[in-house]
Symmetry: C2
Subunit: 197 residues, 2 copies
Amino acid sequence: MVRPLVAGVLASFVWVGNSTTSAADGPSYTPAGLMNYPSDYRQWAYLTTGLNMNYTSAGDPNHHMFDNVFVNPSAYRSFLQTGTWPDKTVIVLEVRGAESKSSINHRGHTQSAEVMGVEVHVKDKALPGGWGFFGFDDKHTPAKMVDRSESCYSCHEMHAAVDTTFVQFYPTLLPIAKQKGTLSPEYLKEISAPAKN
Amino acid sequence: MVRPLVAGVLASFVWVGNSTTSAADGPSYTPAGLMNYPSDYRQWAYLTTGLNMNYTSAGDPNHHMFDNVFVNPSAYRSFLQTGTWPDKTVIVLEVRGAESKSSINHRGHTQSAEVMGVEVHVKDKALPGGWGFFGFDDKHTPAKMVDRSESCYSCHEMHAAVDTTFVQFYPTLLPIAKQKGTLSPEYLKEISAPAKN
């Protein structure tokens, strides 16, 4: 499925199904430039999970959703070494419903079998602006890049801790970014400002 | 670190740091039979995350905790094929605090940098009963197996969906267990009974 012209030379070992194969784990596109669904992301490196996250104060507090975040293994290994993301980084946000009182669990929330959405953030110097968002409706339909005028881009640029990504929510990576000195000026300004309530 | 006499022949590719190496990903023990801390588990296969889960109705609802679950890659691959766990399966439960209003997140919860606990469930025919629980206080201190008389064992035996493990909470694995016919008699009885509120 990977198009060599686009995916480049980022070959690495990924484990898929019952065999270990050598393959690129970067983004894959159709000839028309749509992104193919990253079908192996549940076997990538896990970054974090949030519940009911919202960047505004609006929203329905009775609508419970988990979001799980994964990244392709070659990009994860690179971050551990450098504190930032290499070209061809693919970050996947998977959204699932939050169930209550499932099986013997009496309190709190567990994750639903149904995936409510998959959104992808890709670092690729071939894309306008160097990073692109792609939202997938299903596994079988390649996605068009979200237009650069959408607010997701400006929000990430203004608030994200490292290279327009929300490393402040990735508990194993934030200490590495601090150590390597890769925190963004915008984030450093935010954490040095008095808290607003 | 892996003791060949105990870890056996479950060699598989795992990616650690900056290199891809061939190594066993099963449990590792000290000569005295204590389990060594599974230091690479954040690079294993991710299974699920719950928030504030509790198997009784008791507990403080203001005490917010996430639990993230991981399994060693060779056991994950085996489950995809068979619907159950092979010998030398290592399931890790990582507990983190749930933070509110962190950075630009205004609602819901994100995960704390601090790990509040790591508990491990190991399938190993060399252990009494075939499965053992181990709780780690820190990364540097090997853990003693939790005594077989503790309630964690009987609860898992009475309620878990597959082979004493809570696959009912692992959204990508439950459909496989259904398809392969590996759901436990206890779980099948539970889901066929009228709901109790």
